[in-house]
Every structure is written in structure tokens, then in C-alpha cells.
């Protein structure tokens, strides 16, 4: 019973981890590119949301005043919807840069995105400085509530709910639309898809845009929980790749399950040794991958070559 709050919080955290991991997985699974800049796009989403919600926008002062008078609930909603749209162009540029690495060893894609991650992180430092920011949460979903004689953070539950909605949308796009079918087919056999007359280049751009927007959405949702700082990108991308390897490259449900597993393990180990809780996910990863080399649901992919 004493562990229940840790389990529940771990589960909620796991859903958020899964959300971060899904955007990463989308690009990895469908395009076989490791996007180390995923974390930086995640951070950009959080910073843009901060700029929209607080509001600190480069607008004429009177317009800004009108916007600042709008209730926080609307500004928060606008941030959650607009920030990903604003981050999306970064994904388009990134895809353009990565084109030259297609067909080469995947390591080059990884290195290129490492460079891009450095650039974005430095840009964030230049624009916003190194201080921490907090994204204000509307009154209705902030604070805490009592349940079973314990205090729970309301926003964490909302965040988990947002994460479920975002993941459901991605699942629908990948599994239930023509676009998703084409992209999956393209990952499986690009030549045939092109021979059938589909523009694979355009498809790839859209995959990147989708992955980028996922990163940004995750950044907005997590900003009130983790705070906003230049380093948040790295803090996010590492659990994401742990989850992907754990769940298996290219598997949607593997990423979700991996995320929840990591969240629960971090939550549970936090109950016993809070200082060391983040270590547990690496140990979980090493344990699982030692026995199942492709993770829980992984398929054979070009990345092993």
C-alpha cells in the first residue's frame, strides 16, 4: 500500500516518457535515422510555449496587452497547440540537412543530429539565457488533491491524459490513414513505393514534421513538471532512446510499454533510493537487452548492420 503512490506516479511519468520516445521512434522506425536533436526540439517546444503563455512574444505592446488579458487557460491551450506548429519548421530544415546522410551508415545521421542539437541548445542559451523558467499552469488543472489520505499532483494526471491523447492521434495517423500506410511501406521497401509513383521525399518531410511536433508537444506537456532550462533536451532524449531500445526499434506498443516500464521502475526505485532512481532505467535496459538483443518487440532492422 505504501508503494501505491510511487506506482501511480511512476505510471503517469511512464506515459510522459512514452510520449517523448514516440516522436523519436517515429523517425527511427520509419526512416532508420537516429535523431539526437529530438531533445532540442523538445526543449524548443517548451520555450515557445513559455513565450506564448506568459506572454513574452515579440509583438507590439498593445497587442501583447490584449493577449496578456486573455485568461491563462486559453493562453495555455494556445501554447499547447501553437508551439508544435512553430517548432515544425525546424524539423523541415533538419530533414533537409539529413538528406545527404541517407543511404550511408546510420552513424552519420546520429553525428549530424548531435551537431544540430549543439546548435539549437546554444541558440536557446543565446535567446533565453541559462536561467530556469516555469510554465504557469491554469488554476483548474494545477495544485493537488487528496485521495486515499495522500496528496496527489493534479497536473501530473492531466499531463498523463494529454500524453494518452497525443499518442492516440499518432497511432491513428500511422495505423489508420493512407499516409501512415505509405510511410510504413516506404520504410519497408522504398524502391517499390517510388515505383508506384509516390513522392518519397515529400513523405519523409512529413514524417519528420510529425516527429518534430511530437517532440514539441511533449516539451509543452512536460514543461510544468520538469521546468524549462537549456539542458532539458538532453534530459529528455536519453530516456527516450533507452525506451526505444528497451521496447524494440520500430514498435509502437514497444515504445508505450517501454515508457511505462521505465516510468514504473524509476518511480519504484525512487521509493527506496530517490537519489539513484534515474540509474534504474539504465540497469533495466542493460538487463533486458542482455537477454533480448532487439528489446521487447524489436524487429530486425538495417541499424544492426
Amino acid at each position: 500500500m505504501g508503494l501505491l503512490p510511487h506506482l501511480v506516479n511512476g505510471f503517469a511519468l511512464g506515459l510522459l516518457f512514452a510520449l517523448i520516445a514516440l516522436g523519436f521512434m517515429l523517425i527511427l522506425g520509419l526512416m532508420e535515422q537516429i535523431n539526437l536533436a529530438h531533445g532540442s526540439l523538445f526543449a524548443l517546444g517548451a520555450y515557445f510555449a513559455y513565450a506564448i503563455a506568459t506572454p513574452r512574444l515579440p509583438l507590439p505592446p498593445d497587442m501583447l496587452q490584449v493577449w496578456a488579458a486573455v485568461p491563462l487557460g486559453w493562453r495555455f491551450t494556445a501554447a499547447m497547440l501553437l508551439a508544435p506548429v512553430l517548432v515544425a519548421p525546424f524539423g523541415v530544415v533538419l530533414e533537409r540537412l539529413m538528406r545527404r546522410t541517407y543511404g550511408r551508415d546510420p552513424l552519420y545521421g546520429l553525428l549530424l543530429t548531435f551537431g544540430v542539437a549543439m546548435v539549437i541548445e546554444e541558440l536557446i542559451r543565446i535567446v533565453w539565457g541559462t536561467r530556469d523558467y516555469t510554465l504557469p499552469v491554469p488554476r483548474g488543472i494545477s495544485g493537488g488533491f487528496m485521495m486515499l489520505d495522500l496528496i496527489w499532483s493534479t497536473y501530473r494526471f492531466w499531463a498523463a491524459g494529454f500524453a494518452i491523447i497525443a499518442m492516440a492521434i499518432v497511432w491513428l495517423v500511422i495505423e489508420r490513414t493512407r499516409f501512415g500506410a505509405l510511410v510504413k511501406a516506404g520504410a519497408h521497401d522504398s524502391e517499390i513505393v517510388q515505383a508506384l509513383g509516390h513522392d518519397l521525399e515529400r513523405l519523409r518531410v512529413w514524417v519528420f514534421v510529425l516527429g518534430t511536433m511530437m517532440a514539441a508537444v511533449a516539451g509543452v506537456i512536460l514543461a510544468p513538471v520538469w521546468g524549462i532550462r537549456p539542458h532539458m533536451g538532453v534530459d529528455a532524449v536519453i530516456p527516450a532512446f533507452v525506451i526505444i531500445v528497451l521496447g524494440g526499434v520500430g514498435s509502437f506498443w514497444g515504445a508505450v510499454l517501454g515508457g511505462i516500464l521505465v516510468g514504473m521502475v524509476v518511480g519504484l526505485s525512487g521509493a527506496y533510493a530517490s537519489e539513484w532512481s534515474m540509474l534504474s532505467m539504465y540497469l533495466l535496459l542493460i538487463l533486458v537487452v542482455t537477454f533480448r538483443s532487439r528489446g521487447l518487440f524489436g524487429k530486425k532492422s538495417v541499424l544492426e548492420a
Binding site: G103, Y108, L111, M118, E122, F241, V245, Y282, L303, A305
Partner: protein, 333 residues
């Protein structure tokens, strides 16, 4: 490097590079730089050479090498503070601790390839980094392990003091010479040939009858040990050891240095890379605070247009436009 042709132990290029490096303390201050930068460049050059044994010579994309460098730094510091304050003993401790770390990692990942290898090395790198940060009692946590002395070199007949940056530079240069000589011999030995075979086609190497994972494990341990040696030198140069060098960023920087210099195609590439990286840090950093922005952009451009690195510029006939790190089976566009 062609088969059948014996490779001399000493080459003119090697001696020229050593001699050129030996003159650095004479002029470095006259060009507006400082003596310590030379020490730093040599340490990172040693580290990058050790790292390239894995990346360039064996095609194993380790992304967590910072852990071994850091283990060496802590090994040096802890041996000095808790055991015996003797230079040779402490450097030995640095190598042993880092090799042990390498052996643990190697035991888990030597059956993996490609990106999975990278991802697991990242995971292990993070484990070591995390432990270093959280073990306050042993490593000092984020405050670092301080008060590491620059121990004198005891040679039996004479003792050389290393507290000055110039004398430290020459000591580090001696280590660098030894390490490069060792690596040169190793890369051109039968063992090095097998590494090359594994780099070109691991499956084929296995079918020819080599126990591939033993070689992959051995080369990682060796590279970890030498990286640890560089880490030990760094702890001495900085007079302290910090967990930063074990972070993902620093592990990424060493990959960058090696790649920028052309470690994939030339033996000396990593030295050039370390030089360019640290010079860029100081020179670009002198003009702007965001030097990482500019260096990151340069790096991105390099990966896009010149993936074999700057060292590739000096090669008259590059055999292949893009050096494959493993079996290049990725589908073409």
C-alpha cells in the same frame, strides 16, 4: 597499409609530427596562446587516438567513451589521495581502473553491432556518469575531486618536477609518443588486420573463423585503458577530476574530434581533430560566447559534405568516397 608490405616501426611522418609538437612550447606564447593549451591539446590528442582504435580502426561506434576517460581521471586522483602518491603508480591505477570499466562494458556489448552498439555505449556511459555524480563520498560528486597534485617523475637517477606547464607538456608528449608508437604497431599487427576485417565485414570475419566478439571486447578494453591514461593525465593537468568529462556531451566531443580530423581514413586524423577542436574553442570563443553554435554548424557542414573529415583532404586517392563503418547495407534513396 597494403598487404604483404612490411610497415616500418618509425616513419618520417611520425617523427616529423613528434618533432613539430616538441617545438610548441617555444612559440605558443608568441602567437597569443598559452602553454596550458598545448598540454590540453596533447592530452585530448592521446585520448582521440585511443578512441579511434575503436571507431576508425575497428568500426565500432562507441558513444560513451567519456566514461573511460573519467574513470582514468578518478582512478589517478583516488590512487594519489588514498594510496600512494607516486606518478607511475597513479597512472597505472588510471589505466587499470579504466580497463576494468572497459571490460565490464565489453562483456555486455561485444555481441552487438552498429547503432545498437552506440546506444548501449551511451547507456553505459550514462551509468558511469551517474554513479560519479551521486557518489559524493568517493568522487566528491558535482563538486569534483580536488587537490590532485602534479606528481614529480621519479626516474631512479633523477626526479623531474611537473608543476610547470612546460615540463608537464614534455611529459605528456613522452606519453603521447609512447601511445602513438604502440597504436601504430598494433594497427599494423595481425591483430590490427583482424580488426580491419571486422570493420569491413563482421559476418565475413566470423565465417572465416575468427571469434569476432573476443576481438571486439579486447579492442574496447585496450582503448578504454589508453583513454583512462589520458584521463589520468588530464586529472593531473587540471589538478582535479570532474564528472563532466563523462557526460554524453563530452563523449560526443571526442567522436567529433576524431571525425573532424579524419580518424576514419588516416592514422593521424584524431590528432588534427583534437587540435582543431580546442583551437576553435579558444579562437571562436574569444570572439563570441556561443562558440558551440559556430562549431556545431561547421561540424554539421562537415558531416554533410566531407564525412571523411579534414584528414581526407590530404589523401591523394581516397579509395571510397564514404568510408563505411560497418556493412554498408542501408538502402539507397
Amino acid at each position: 597499409m597494403q598487404a604483404g608490405k612490411p610497415v616500418p616501426t618509425l616513419t618520417p611522418a611520425m617523427i616529423a609530427i613528434w618533432l613539430a609538437l616538441a617545438t610548441v612550447p617555444l612559440w605558443i606564447e608568441h602567437v597569443g596562446l598559452y602553454q596550458y593549451l598545448g598540454v590540453e591539446i596533447l592530452i585530448f590528442a592521446t585520448y582521440a587516438m585511443a578512441y579511434n582504435l575503436v571507431l576508425g580502426h575497428s568500426g565500432l561506434p562507441s558513444f560513451g567513451h567519456g566514461a573511460f576517460f573519467g574513470l582514468g581521471a578518478y582512478g589517478f586522483g583516488l590512487a594519489q589521495l588514498n594510496l600512494v602518491a607516486d606518478l607511475w603508480f597513479c597512472l597505472g591505477a588510471a589505466v587499470v581502473v579504466a580497463s576494468a570499466g572497459g571490460a565490464i562494458v565489453a562483456a555486455f556489448i561485444s555481441h552487438r553491432r552498429g547503432i545498437y552498439y552506440s546506444l548501449l555505449t551511451i547507456a553505459f556511459g550514462q551509468v558511469f556518469w551517474f554513479i560519479a555524480i551521486k557518489s559524493h563520498a568517493i568522487t566528491g560528486g558535482e563538486d569534483g575531486l580536488l587537490k590532485i597534485a602534479r606528481l614529480p617523475v621519479r626516474l631512479g637517477v633523477a626526479t623531474i618536477d611537473l608543476t610547470g606547464n612546460v615540463s608537464l607538456f614534455y611529459f605528456v608528449l613522452a606519453v603521447f609518443v609512447a601511445v602513438t608508437l604502440l597504436l601504430w604497431r598494433l594497427v599494423h599487427s595481425p591483430f590490427g588486420r583482424i580488426l580491419k576485417a571486422i570493420k569491413q565485414n563482421e559476418t565475413r570475419a566470423r565465417f572465416v573463423g575468427y571469434d569476432v566478439w573476443r576481438y571486439k571486447a579486447a579492442v574496447l578494453v585496450l582503448s578504454a585503458g589508453l583513454s583512462g591514461l589520458a584521463g589520468g593525465l588530464f586529472a593531473m593537468a587540471q589538478a582535479s577530476a570532474f564528472p563532466d568529462v563523462m557526460s554524453l556531451h563530452y563523449s560526443g566531443y571526442i567522436v567529433m574530434m576524431t571525425l573532424v580530423g579524419g580518424g576514419l581514413v588516416t592514422f593521424w586524423g584524431p590528432v588534427l581533430g583534437a587540435l582543431v577542436f580546442l583551437l576553435a574553442r579558444d579562437v571562436i570563443g574569444a570572439f563570441t560566447t556561443g562558440w558551440m553554435l559556430w562549431f556545431g554548424l561547421l561540424f554539421v557542414a562537415l558531416v554533410m559534405y566531407k564525412p571523411e573529415g579534414l584528414g581526407g583532404l590530404f589523401l591523394r586517392t581516397p579509395r571510397k568516397p564514404v568510408p563505411p563503418l560497418a556493412v554498408a547495407s542501408a538502402p539507397a534513396e
